[in-house]
């Protein structure tokens, strides 16, 4: 029986507690929050042995095998380090740490102590994301990835969190080195990192505050980012983060030498993009029918998963946690390779560095 603890009892901790509860062979032996009331409310709603207000006390008394760190990102590094030093395996919500340096240090510490570390990129373990991975493995692209497009939409207008962020100039999200972006873009970047082959892609970043935010008097938050990534002998990628683009997409497109794949995270669908086209009018009739056939297939797959009682909102998180626990118990490789975790952090560092140093874009004038 794996003994599990959760540190940080906010909104995302609910998802962790619920998904851990669906996994056999584990038990939540403690939850911890600096605010004792928050720890208690989680313990009242989920089967939890005891709640704590002090991390050292949790580690000392509950002696968990695994700790899930679900605090705001600024505290991830210190908490994860303390847990690893106490001999725990650690699952840290995204982003793993504030920069690549901290990420590297945690990965090294985990390796030195013989412990496993993972990060909450659970979108990569959704049903659709796993279908996409299987198709790539089975050769659906016809070779290595040539190019990727990862789009991550974020609706600032709709959420109460965003309202609070915009109104509060001292909000903790603003104090992150990468600001709002640090808290949200790692899902979209990690998707790209998974398929990059090298460890040092070239990165070009363009970012700005959207006209909508500027109209509200906001100039410090960057909510529109376009990134180009490239490797000399490997794939290239575009990453788009947008708060204004509609529809607000969460998509990954992979293009290979013989065909492509489209993952739509919100609809949990995967579509093959054919690499050849018919040289006749049939292209206009048969190809749309093929897309329709694939979408019907997606509907049936989703329906099967739903009827099989495995279509929960956080199904990806459950799969990731299960894979993480399996890696601990059976010694299997960690669910997210450390190389990918570090590469994601390094790309994010470059994005933030370039945004900090940003200057007005050079405008092409008539004389050129």
């Amino acid at each position: 029986m794996l003994e599990v603890a959760i540190v940080g009892c906010g909104k995302i901790a609910d998802a962790h507690a619920a998904q851990i509860g669906r996994i056999a062979g584990c038990e939540i032996v403690g939850v911890c929050d600096r605010e004792p009331l928050m720890a208690r409310q989680l313990a009242e709603r989920f089967p939890v042995r005891r709640c704590y207000a002090d991390l050292a006390e949790l580690l000392d008394r509950a002696r968990p095998d695994v700790v899930h760190v679900t605090t705001p990102p600024a505290s991830h590094f210190e908490i994860a380090r303390a847990c690893l030093e106490a001999g725990c395996h650690v699952y840290v919500e995204k982003p793993l740490a504030l920069d690549a340096g901290q990420t590297r240090a945690l990965l090294a510490l985990a390796s030195e102590n013989g412990r496993t570390l993972t990060v909450g990129h659970d979108d990569q373990f959704s049903h659709a994301a796993r279908r996409l991975r299987a198709l790539v493995r089975d050769g659906a692209l016809g070779g290595p990835v040539v190019h990727m497009e990862s789009v991550y939409g974020y609706d600032l207008a709709e959420s109460g969190y965003a309202r609070a962020l915009l109104a509060d100039k001292t909000h903790w999200v603003r104090r992150l080195p990468g600001g709002l972006l640090q808290n949200v873009i790692s899902h979209g970047i990690a998707r790209i990192a998974e398929f990059l082959t090298g460890d040092a892609p070239a990165v070009i970043v363009h970012g700005f505050t959207s006209p909508r935010l500027r109209a509200l008097g906001e100039t410090a938050i960057v909510d529109e980012v376009r990134v180009i990534l490239g490797e000399d002998d490997g794939p290239t990628a575009y990453f788009t983060f947008s708060s204004t683009m509609r529809p607000s997409l969460h998509e990954l497109r992979l293009y290979g030498p013989r065909g492509g794949l489209l993952l739509d995270q919100d609809r949990e669908t995967v579509t093959r993009l054919p690499g050849t086209r018919r040289t006749s009018y049939l292209e206009m009739f048969v190809s749309p029918l093929d897309v329709a056939r694939q979408q019907v297939g997606n509907v049936l797959t989703n329906a099967r998963t739903f009827l099989g009682r495995d279509f929960h909102m956080k199904a990806g998180m459950k799969t990731l946690i299960e894979a993480f626990y399996r890696s601990i118990v059976d010694g299997a490789p960690p669910p997210i390779p450390y190389r990918e975790i570090l590469l994601t952090a390094r790309i994010m560092d470059v994005v933030f560095d370039q945004l900090r140093a940003r200057r007005p874009a050079e405008v092409i004038d008539d004389r050129r």
């Binding site: 009892c9 906010g10 909104k11 901790a13 609910d14 619920a18 669906r22 605010e35 009331l37 928050m38 409310q41 989680l42 009242e44 709603r45 109460g160 309202r163 609070a164 915009l166 109104a167 509060d168 100039k169 739903f306 009682r309 495995d310 279509f311 929960h312």
Partner: protein
């Protein structure tokens, strides 16, 4: 009630949290109307202060309204707001948060911080905690179909599937606990559904809009409406009436319309839409089925509507305001017919500007 007989004088400092909200702004205006001159309001940085400004517009010369911009999650902000106050009207609470931790943090942790700040200043004579009807389980009532202050509160609010209910139950428990442990002189006000111009939604006690169709669930049930001005007056009296510490007051107006009558009036006065009545046994059966399905599927579709929700919102219930009338001397000043007319006018204007 004259100032001579009230718990606090016109110049004693009074704090209102949530003063920019629907009820809070009316309470502020009511306090101003009653001649209270030393008012402090606490609002979040993200609050829309338009209502606040409207409420303060008619204040008499010499009335001081101090606006403290802050967050009740900050103990420092609470200390600044609570300094020297004799009376606290605590209306700020989580609204609309769907996650339990968010609702809990913005209702319970905030209330704890405010209570601690009040205790530190030791000037507090009354802490009016504004709660909600949503805390009542509406099962096993001592008086059958009548819901009053003696009715039991949810003992397992986590099973209601409603973050607001969970947070409010826990907030009430905290206030009572502070009363017992530290002698905080609390009074609890539990309004029914507060309505009036500025609110446009149809309460879920009447029914729910889904897939373009309105499911009418209330049927012949009376809907526990209280007009916002009437509610503000009751809260004010709960703060000023001496000798009611440790008491709970339910606030509903007289002449409550049935759900069916309200829906008919709404359609006639605001807009027409299609609705289908689900008889109570059917809505109860569907709630049970959803609950059973959620259990079988390990929470694949969390039971947002379950038997506890059904008991709380759709079971045939009558409501009593006798306690508030008897102990506070409260009576609704805006009659139901007039209140509904004002509400419908507000809804029509909002629909036109949408």
């Amino acid at each position: 009630m004259t100032v001579d007989t009230t718990l606090v004088g016109r110049d004693d400092p009074i704090l209102i949290t949530g003063a920019s909200g629907f009820i809070g702004s009316r309470l502020l205006a009511t306090l101003v109307d009653h001649g209270f001159r030393n008012l402090r309001v606490m609002v979040r940085p993200s609050s829309d202060v338009a209502r606040l400004e409207a409420a303060a517009r008619h204040r008499a010369l010499g009335t001081r309204i101090e606006v403290v911009t802050g967050n009740l999650l900050s103990r420092d902000d609470c200390a600044a707001a609570a300094a020297g106050v004799a009376l606290v009207f605590h209306l700020a609470a989580a609204r609309g948060e769907k996650s339990v931790p968010d609702a809990f943090m913005n209702s319970v942790v905030t209330t704890r911080n405010l209570l601690d700040a009040c205790l530190a200043h030791a000037a507090l004579r009354r802490f009016v905690n504004v709660s909600s009807f949503s805390v009542y389980t509406n099962r096993g009532k001592t008086r059958g179909r009548v819901l009053d202050e003696s009715s039991p509160v949810e003992t397992r609010p986590e099973l209601r599937g409603d973050a607001y209910c969970f947070a409010k139950v826990k907030q009430d428990e905290l206030v009572v606990d502070y009363g017992r442990r530290f002698g905080v002189p609390w009074v609890m006000v539990r309004p029914g559904y507060v309505y009036g111009p500025g609110k446009t939604a149809i309460t879920g006690r009447v029914g729910l809009g889904s897939f373009g169709l309105f499911l009418h669930l209330g049927g012949a049930n009376p809907i526990p409406f209280t007009y916002v001005d009437n509610c503000a007056e009751a809260i004010l009296l709960a703060g000023l009436t001496p000798g009611v510490e440790g008491e709970v007051f339910n606030v509903v107006d007289d002449d409550l319309p049935s759900s069916r009558r309200f829906l008919r009036l709404y359609k006639a006065n605001v807009r027409r839409f299609a609705s289908v009545y689900l008889p109570h046994p059917v809505s109860f059966g569907l709630s049970w089925m959803w609950e059973a399905y959620a259990r079988w599927s390990h929470g694949q579709l969390p039971p947002v509507y379950n038997r506890r929700t059904w008991h709380a919102y759709w079971k045939k219930t009558r409501y009593s305001n006798a306690h508030a009338k008897r102990r506070l001397g409260w009576a609704p000043t805006v009659p139901m017919a007039e209140g509904l007319q004002r509400y419908f006018v507000g809804c029509r204007e909002a629909t036109r500007h949408a």
